[in-house]
Amino acid sequence: MTPQGLAIAMAVVLLVAVVLLLRSYVLPEKYAVIWIAASAAAIVLSGWPGLLDRVSQFFGISEPINLLFVGTFFVILLLLMQVSLELARTRDELRKIVQRLALDIQSKNKE
């Protein structure tokens, strides 16, 4: 098997996993869009390596693989940041709900 074949196979596995998770209502649509985009990009880049060469030439990067690493690193950072923000929001909502529940239980016990 060629390295390119391996890369394409991995990208396809990613896409199939995303579609299956989406299909079974496990992965919400809100997060699915970014994963579909990521797996589509992975398929395009592994299927057409010339694209990477051209883009790195445009940016003046001599080793195309470095562009891939930098780009992937940046995208993963953005994804992590999104997860942090979502976690913060969820914790905040959880706090509000617990406080509200506690107040409701207290007023019910007093009756």
Binding site: V19, L22, R23, Y25, P28, E29, V33, E93, I97
Partner: protein
Amino acid sequence: MRVLVAVPAFNEEAAIGDSLDALASFHALSDVVVVDDGSADSTATIARARGATVISHAINLGVGAAMGTAFKYAVAHQYDAVVQFDGDGQHRAEHLRDLVSALPNADIVIGSRYSEGGQFPASAARRGVQRVISWAVSAYTRTPLTDATSGFRIAGPRALEVFAAHYPVEWLGDTVESVVIASRHGLVIREIPVNMNERAGGVPSQSISRATLYTGRILFILLLAGIRSAPPQLRALKRRTLSEETS
């Protein structure tokens, strides 16, 4: 037939009082439930003062979740049908009767702004978008529908059971995806023409990028609906109904 009118409301203190007053001349407010979706203003207080039942979400969850709560409330209190009526003054109470009287021939009746006889001030761009959406939705559900994004609708007993088990919560899912889910469940969907007012509060979305996002989102919902299996809750519901029929 016991009909519940459900009013999803998020920070609607400017319009909710007038909406409920308009509703009161066509429907007893004791059979109206206002789902206050985590409002920070006095929406709940105003609604309670008018005599409606108020259910308050502790946090804002969106229209879909508010309607989900209303459907669960309706099933728990033995209602036969639920009308969705927005609290922002867009829907007209006089059409309530039309929705209820169209119900015997369908499981869901949608009040359409665009079907023959309906009136709504809309720009050319908005009508174009609407045409694309209605074509796609009609093709999917195999029912001619002109206004799948209309929130003014009634759900009958069979639809109620389905929606109490599962109602879509994501943006635009409450209107478009609920139609798709209903049609996959074999429910009959119909449309009647209604007139609507321009929203009392809120800015109508007119920009091109906004319209593109809106259309894209709806086409994405329909695409997903094509590959999706039924949600686990609905599969369980279907199994229950089947075993009841055979036993």
